[in-house]
Symmetry: D3
Subunit: 236 residues, 6 copies
């Protein structure tokens, strides 16, 4: 992902991106059932670095396993590249935590761009207060060892019923999180910027009393000229 | 619905209305699973204008369908009468959006009193910032075309497992939304105002240390006099 | 529960307590599916006083039943001992209310330490504004009579899939609620205070750039000395 | 319950009983989510004897607890009166068993009229082969100790979202199970027998080509005479 | 639908049809969550005639409503054209019945080709014994009046999350039910017959020890000749 | 797994094995939500060979992918070792198939001991008629490409919320499927055989009128002698 693309994706909504992907035949890229731990008022953007959890078996998941420096959960936190989003496949099960504030703080300090789990975080109130954007299903205080064993790092996973491949571009806003296949990120970002300009124009028109018929989507010629004028005026 | 009834319904809670309907044998009028996109601190009140979604079939729901000025979703937004609440039957499925900020803005500008979906809205953070009250299940960024085809306007529908007939009176507060059958709206509004007066009196008493036994509901005669005095004093 | 234990439990997180219980073989003490009606920024702590709801049968649950001074819901509110947490088994069904603002206000005035239901409260917006901590699944305006009949006071119950025995110690923070078996409350509180000290130290280290490997959990000797120094310095 | 009533209830369907109860304002007496472990082709009928499970806490539910002769699960099996139906409140959770074949065999030998759980039975294939009717949600092999602690015998419970009071009359056919409040069992049985006669007449008419309009329910006078003739001819 | 198409659809599986539709971009035509009340060992085939249920409101759904000869549920049964499949939108809610044995018997006598509900049937054991194929979610004894009000006949509906338009061709086998858009029924039937021939050939080969690689799907030329020989030999 | 262990596991129930594992601290080894496609009246036994599905992305899952001889689903079928059970992680999603009859037939011909998916099979009626035991959640006709992409072979997976490692011993009976960690299979098989002998003895006693108290579990000395006599007599 280029810096230009990252910047573009910072300024468009997940809804707009979802429509851009829908045009390309991808109907199912919004991670279902997750929301911001706390809204940040700005987008999370970064390539996906993944962690896969499987169900925990009691004899393999005593508290002592965390003493192992190679435990995949810990390694994921310590190796997630700067600017990447750590995406966790928690099998949509928030009855135990995917991670807690100490790990997410460490991820933030290391330069992580964000974290997403289709389970839940413990210490969620604290995580919500951190700078790093975090998305989950709901707060969940039990240690992950109760239900989840971290088993694989940076393999293809599912998260909230969406396919996530390492390197896919992950974007989150105050509503949702979307996964853009790596090979189409640039093109989708470009289109989303264009769409956003038009949507902003439309919103202004609608607030001024214009009907949506013929305007959104544009089927009347008259709006083409107005939009061009608006772009010129607003430098977009 | 008279303006007097609208005013009364603006000043009572959905909980109180639910009890008033329960007394009349209606146990199931609170829309399940919806909440305010953002709390407004005031009630939404208006007759229902409905939109029915059915499952979307791919060949009937390409992006181009919105170019049709007669698309029912667009028409619903453009024809919902002033002062009405647009209620959408999204089959309790929030995996794709019921509508987005541009349409809801248009509905607001046109004088809509509010909007309710048992699915989810895209651009929910933006919608939450609008003046118009909106209720849904959760933010959902994918375009409705992925799952929902708007098929009927102003027919009887289900919303959150509640029957909604066009013209039924819809009231929402910061907790929930309730549907009052049109023919009993006046009578229920009257009763709810009375109940609210008594509940406000009770709350004051309870805060002052009174037990609820005999007071709520009132079975002790002594509270009758106090309540009458309270009403006189508070002009209610 | 001693006052010392209460104080300790006021200053630790539910996540930490969950881990302390996990060490003792208890994996399932966090009440699933409940959250604060409104975050209080402080812990709820108190022994459990319980109320059991069963499904409501129509002929036993007309509105008049509340005129009975011995109705178990009312009695629970009026007899819950000071400093206790009222825990309601609502069978995880929030389609009707577990209680409303008047009853919760009365509980608060009587000195209740908090209230938890695995269903939902009506008048939730009002309850959220009260001093008393309250936890539920979601706002629910219908009267409990629609679905729930209060049947037993202070018997062992389930709440959010967790066993709750009268007298068990209930702790809630801004994320979750946990149930500590009465006989181990002192010991668990002690351990949680110790763990919290270390976690606070770790958070400080991690914010300063330290890796979690060897630090959390501590396997490197060097951190032992730093921690002891930190404790001395911070008086913990 | 008289023997006459038991006999009547043996020869009517749960559907017919549900309608008879609906006429009396009871809408919710059919236990949701249970079915026969194996269809018996005959009705289960008997007064309810109840067992309440709560969530299991690990330290109270080691395998050794079954050595206690007073363990409520075992006591329920050994004290359920002859001709009664043992109804278990398993909180609709079939992830662990409510009971297994040995206990159900013992219940059968002791004269139990049947067993119902809103969880699942282990050894279900074996239980299905026993003479005693059994109803559950699905086979479930894990011991109940994993999730369920038997805590109360013969108290009011919920089963499949239905209120069950000890002594209520429980009837199961090859579709479903219904709970008839004890005080109305005789009257409901009488009415159901009458309804069944008419339904059998209707079925015969419909198979012969008659329209249901005017016949079911009967609004045309002509069907009254035919029905009376049919009753006389069939001795019903 | 021509008789030729009907015959073809009688001899192919729903799985094969699902793949044929998938090739045409339709991914979601199999009705989710329904199965045969009793397997028939033969396909149900017919154009859809639809019935839409909405949530029932108590004051509109007393038992007496069935005395109305224009009640939509009754009218649907009496007007569904011969050879058609009656498809009911029961909002995936099987807590009350969609219909019972008397109505389904009448539908059968009138020549209905089958019946599908995404809710449940009462008298299911009896319905399972009828000649007419019926599909539902599970047996459900309560009268539909408890939850469902029949409101519309032969409008577009959802059934098990699938779009069903009147006239769409509905096919059910012992596994599932699929909805084929009317305009592509002939073409899909043709293709499915071809696919079935090849699948039958493949099954025979695989039973004889052949690997699926290169055979299913066919990528090796050698299988083309064998298949042609097989067709000639088996007259397909 | 030795042949002796396989034989032992063929003659014990999943319920007995679940209890044997519970004694060793493993509470969660029974795969939740699966049942036999058709009961076989005999156990499925074999080491696990696994296949992991992830959510399908449209552009990676066109029908042509099956032409690739290296497609993981096909490879899994063709490489699962003789005597092994193929266990599929379908993320508990049965909206599309995990496999169909041709692949399962091929697996059977190759000597597979069985197949388990926590999703559903297409052509389930046919699969149920095959010799090979198969377990799933429900029949599901849509091709797997709609929802599932086969991504990994023989890695640790979750199936029905249970951890499955390649080589773990999988046992299925007519109720459920259980996963025994490889390293304890022999010991658990031995214990289960012993337990089964005692349970068979108990069943005989209970059918003869013996109370379960003191017998199951055995706490009375007298039953020890009877059991030993029974063993001698029955050669067990």
């Amino acid at each position: 992902m280029t810096e230009a693309t990252r910047t573009k994706l910072t300024n468009v909504s997940v809804a707009t991106l979802a429509t851009a992907l829908y045009k390309r035949g991808l109907r199912n890229q919004v991670i279902q059932g997750v929301h911001p731990v706390a809204p940040k008022g700005r987008n999370m953007v970064g390539p996906a670095f993944t962690l896969r959890y499987m169900p925990a078996r009691e004899d393999r998941n005593e508290l002592s396993v965390f003493r192992n420096p190679d435990h995949p959960q810990r390694v994921a936190i310590e190796t997630c590249p700067e600017g990447h989003v750590l995406v966790m496949d928690s099998r949509k099960d928030a009855r135990a935590a995917s991670a807690g504030d100490i790990l997410i703080t460490r991820l933030m300090v290391r330069g992580g761009a964000g974290v997403v789990s289709d389970g839940g975080f413990r210490d969620a109130a604290t995580i919500g207060g951190l700078e790093i954007p975090a998305y989950h299903s709901r707060p969940s205080s039990p240690t992950n060892l109760v239900l989840h064993e971290a088993i694989d790092i940076n393999v293809p996973i599912g998260c909230g019923d969406v396919a996530v491949f390492p390197g896919d571009v992950v974007v989150g806003d105050d509503d949702c999180v979307i996964v853009i296949p790596a090979h189409m990120a640039d093109e989708v970002a470009d289109e989303a910027v264009e769409m956003t300009a038009y949507e902003d124009f439309v919103t202004e028109q609608v607030k001024g009393g214009e009907t949506i018929i013929g305007l959104y989507p544009r089927t009347k010629d008259e709006h083409l000229a107005s939009f061009e004028a608006w772009r010129a005026k607003n430098g977009r």
